[in-house]
Amino acid sequence: MSHDRARTDGPVPALELRGISKRYGPVVACDAVDLTVQRGEVHGLLGENGAGKSTLMKVLMGLVQADAGDVHRDGVAVDVRTPQQAAEHGLGMVHQHFSLIEPLTVWENVALGEPGRIDRDAICADVEAVGARYGLTIEPTATVERLSAGERQRVELIKALRRDPKVLVLDEPTSVLTIAESAALFEVLRTSVAAEGRGVILISHKLAEITAATDVVSVLRRGRLAFHCRTADTSAPELARQMVGRDVSLRAEGAALGLVVTDDPAKHLTPVLQGGLDAVPAEPPAPEAPADVPGTAALALHGLCVAGPDGRILLDSLDLEVATGEIVALYGVEGNGQATLGDLLSGLMAPDTGEVRVDGRAVSLDRPGALHEAGVGVIPEDRHRSGVVLDLSVADNLVMTDLRRFSGRFLMRRAQIRAQAEELVERFAIRTPSVDAPLRTLSGGNQQRVVLARELSANPTVLVAAQPTHGLDVGAIEDMYARLREAAAAGVAVLLISTELEEVMALASRIAVISSGRITGVLDVADASPQRLGMLVGGEAA
C-alpha cells in the first residue's frame, strides 16, 4: 500500500495522517483525524484542552498506538510504534513539558535516545554547529538545571534539529518563553522551513502565534478536525470562534432546572453563534452586587505574582474581586495559572508578592489553615489528590477539615460525627449506603457532593470551585450547578475556575479570562461571546 496515492494534483506531502482514531476507554481523544503537512510549510494546529492535539502528536511520535488510521511520509505508509521508529522516519518533536534530564549536561541530553556509540567531542561540535546555523547559542558542557527556560527550549530544539527531521512538531513551544524568546524561536522556524524544506507542525492556542507564524491552520475540536484553511484566508476572530464555538449540550439541563432560557439569544450573542450558546440564562443566577466598589468584595486578590522553581512566571500581578452572592468565573486554557491560583487559595503555597483579602481583611498566606479560618472553602481541582481520602468513610471525609469541632482533648466524638454526617448526607442528597461506607465506593458525582457538603457546612464567606464538574456525568453536573447557584443565592462569593465554556456561561455573572497568568479581560456574561472570549483566551485584547 506504499504508493497507493500517486498524487497528480500537487507535490507529495511530507507527512500525511489519514483517519487517525484513538480512544481511551469511553473517551474519544481523536476521531478519524486527517492532517497533511507539505514540505516547507508551517502547519498550525489549534485547539482547546482535550481537543486531541496532544494525543494526535503522541500517535505520530510513537508514544501512543492509534486504534485506526495510518501515517504516510513522502507518500509512503510508515509504521511508527516507538520513538526510535519515529526518529528513523524523520519525525522530530519538541515536547511541551521538556523532555530534558536536568542533572545531565546539554550534550548528554542531545545524545539521549539515539543509537550507537557516544562520541562526546563530536556531539559537542554538533551542538555548536547546529546552534550556529540557527542562531541558538548554547554551551554544550553546561548542566541543564542551570539553564533558563529559554535556554532549555534551545536545547530541545537543537536536540530535535540535530537529527535532521523532515517533519518537526512543536507542542506549545512558547508557553514558557518570554516575548523576545518567542520571536527568536519563530525566526529559527522560518529559517528551518524556508531554507531546508522541512515541514513544521506548530501546536498552540495563542492566536497571535498561529496567525503570524503559520502558512496553513487546522483546528481540532473534541477530537475531530473542525476547520482547515490557509492562514492568509482567515482571521484571528474566525479562528477563535472555530476553536471555542460549539454546540452547547446543557440546553436541556438548563431548562430542567427551571432556568429561563432566553428567547432572543442575539441579545447576548453575536448572530453567527445563535445556534451555539443559547442556554445562557437570561437573568444572572445571583443578585448583582457592586463588585467595583472597593471594600465590599468578599474575596479580593491584589497583584498576585508567583514564579515557579524554574523562574517561569505562573501568576503575573493577578487582580480579581468576587462580591458576596456573586459567581465569577475564571476562564482560560489549562496551564495558564489556574492550578497555581487554586493551590494558592487552598493554602498550599504563598505568593511572591500580592495579597488575598477576605471580607476586606488581609489573610496571611504563610500560615497553613489561615484561609480556611478566614472563611474560604475550596473544591480542589483534583479531588482525589487533595480533596478527599478515598479509603476513609463518608463520615470521616465530611468532618475532616473541622476535626477540632468533633473531638475532645484526645478522642473523637463518634456520635457527633455521625450526626453531622447524616445531616449533611440528607441535606446534600449524597447517595451512599451508609455514612460508614468508604468514600471509594461512591460515584464521582457523590464524592464531589461530599467535598461540596463539607466545604459549605463550614459556612464559608468564599467558595472556590476549581473544575468542580470535571469527570462527572450530566446528572451530577446539573446537581453541582444547582448547588453552586444555591450557595451564591445564600450569600457566598463563588469563584469558579473552569476551562469549560458552557459551564462558565451557565453559571457566572462575570467572566474573567486568564492567559499566561494574567487576567486579559473581565466581561459580563451578557457581553461575552465565544469570539471575544476566544480572543482573550488567546492572549489578545477583545
Binding site: 520513538p83 523532555s99 534530564i101 542533572p103 535516545g113
Partner: protein
C-alpha cells in the same frame, strides 16, 4: 615494629574492603538507574553460599567464585522481574529476598557437608616486599579483579551510551521514555550488574577470605554497601572511599584487642551506620541523589 602492625591492619582492612567494594560497584550502578536495591544483602549471602557449595563440589574454589557471582545474578533476575516488570514494590521484594536467602542458606548448610575451599594467594614479586604497603600486592587473587571491575563500572556509567541511558532513567524516567529509552529494561539490566558483582563480593567473602560458609556470614555487609553508596554521594570514587573506611573500621575492630587497646567492639560495628547517617544529614540538601531513586515507572497516559 609499628610498620609491621600497620601492615597487618592494612592487609586486613583491604581484605575486608574487597567484598564491600565489589558489591558497592553493583549497587552504585543500580542506584544510578533508580533502584535502591536492598536485596544486595541477599545477593551477597547467596553468592557466598553458592561459591562454597560449588567450590566444594568441584574441588576448585575459583570455579566456586564464578558460580557465586552467577547465583547473585540469578537473585537479581528474580528481583528485577518482580519489581521492574510486574511492578511489585522494590523494598518488599528486597525484604522477602533477604529473608528467603537467609533461611534457605541456613537450611542447606545444616543438611549439607562442605569441605574447606579457598582461592590461592597471588603474591606479586618485588612489589610485595615494599614495607607496609607491600601487603597490597600479597592478596588472594580475586582481590586483583577490583583493578578491572572498578574502572569498568565507572566507564560503563559515565562513558557509554548504556550508562548515559541508565543515568537518564534514574533521574527522570518520563523524559527518558519520551526520548525513546526503555526505562524498565534499563533498570533490570542495571540490577543484573548489581547481582553479578554482589554475588562476586559474597563469593570473595567465603572462598576468598574465610574458606568456608557459616550462617548469615554477610552479617549486614549488604546494608553497609548501601550506606557506602549514600556516603559516596552516588559517585564511584566516594563510594570506594567509603568502602575502604568501613573495611578499615572492621579491621580495626578485629585488631584492637591484640594491639592492647580497649574499645567497645559493638560501637565499632555500629560505626559505619553512624557515619552514613551523619553524612545523610549533612547532605540532605545537596540533591545529588538520583531524583527518581526508588520511584517505580509505569508508562501512563501522561
Amino acid at each position: 615494629m609499628w610498620l609491621d602492625d600497620g601492615g597487618t591492619v592494612l592487609s586486613s582492612a583491604l581484605r575486608l574492603t574487597a567484598p564491600l567494594a565489589f558489591a558497592a560497584c553493583g549497587e552504585y550502578l543500580a542506584e544510578r538507574a533508580g533502584t535502591l536495591n536492598i536485596s544486595v544483602e541477599g545477593m551477597m549471602l547467596s553468592g557466598a553460599f553458592g561459591a562454597i557449595a560449588v567450590g566444594s563440589a568441584t574441588g576448585s574454589p575459583s570455579v566456586g567464585l564464578f558460580a557465586g557471582a552467577l547465583i547473585g545474578l540469578v537473585v537479581a533476575l528474580v528481583h528485577a522481574n518482580l519489581s521492574h516488570r510486574i511492578q511489585i514494590n522494590t523494598f518488599v521484594v528486597g525484604l522477602v529476598i533477604n529473608t528467603l536467602v537467609l533461611g534457605v542458606t541456613s537450611f542447606l548448610t545444616q543438611i549439607m557437608e562442605f569441605s574447606r575451599t579457598q582461592v590461592a594467594v597471588l603474591r606479586i614479586p618485588g612489589l610485595a616486599d615494599i614495607p607496609m604497603l607491600g601487603v597490597v600486592f600479597d592478596q588472594r587473587w580475586p582481590f586483583y579483579l577490583l583493578v578491572g571491575v572498578v574502572p569498568l563500572t565507572w566507564y560503563l556509567v559515565n562513558r557509554t551510551r548504556w550508562g548515559l541511558e541508565l543515568r537518564a532513567v534514574g533521574e527522570n524516567p518520563q523524559a527518558a521514555d519520551v526520548s525513546g529509552i526503555k526505562v524498565n529494561l534499563r533498570r533490570r539490566q542495571a540490577l543484573m550488574w548489581c547481582g553479578l558483582l554482589s554475588g562476586l563480593g559474597g563469593a570473595y567473602l567465603s572462598v576468598g577470605l574465610v574458606g568456608s560458609f557459616n550462617n548469615n556470614m554477610t552479617a549486614g555487609r549488604g546494608f553497609i554497601v548501601i550506606a557506602a553508596v549514600i556516603f559516596g554521594a552516588w559517585r564511584l570514587k566516594g563510594t570506594m572511599l567509603a568502602c575502604f573506611l568501613f573495611g578499615a573500621a572492621d579491621a580495626l575492630r578485629l585488631a584492637l584487642p591484640s594491639l592492647g587497646v580497649e574499645l567497645n567492639a559493638q560501637l565499632l560495628v555500629a560505626a559505619p551506620y553512624l557515619l552514613a547517617l551523619t553524612v545523610m544529614v549533612l547532605m540532605a540538601k545537596s540533591q545529588r541523589e538520583p531524583r527518581a531513586l526508588a520511584k517505580p515507572f509505569e508508562r501512563g497516559l501522561v
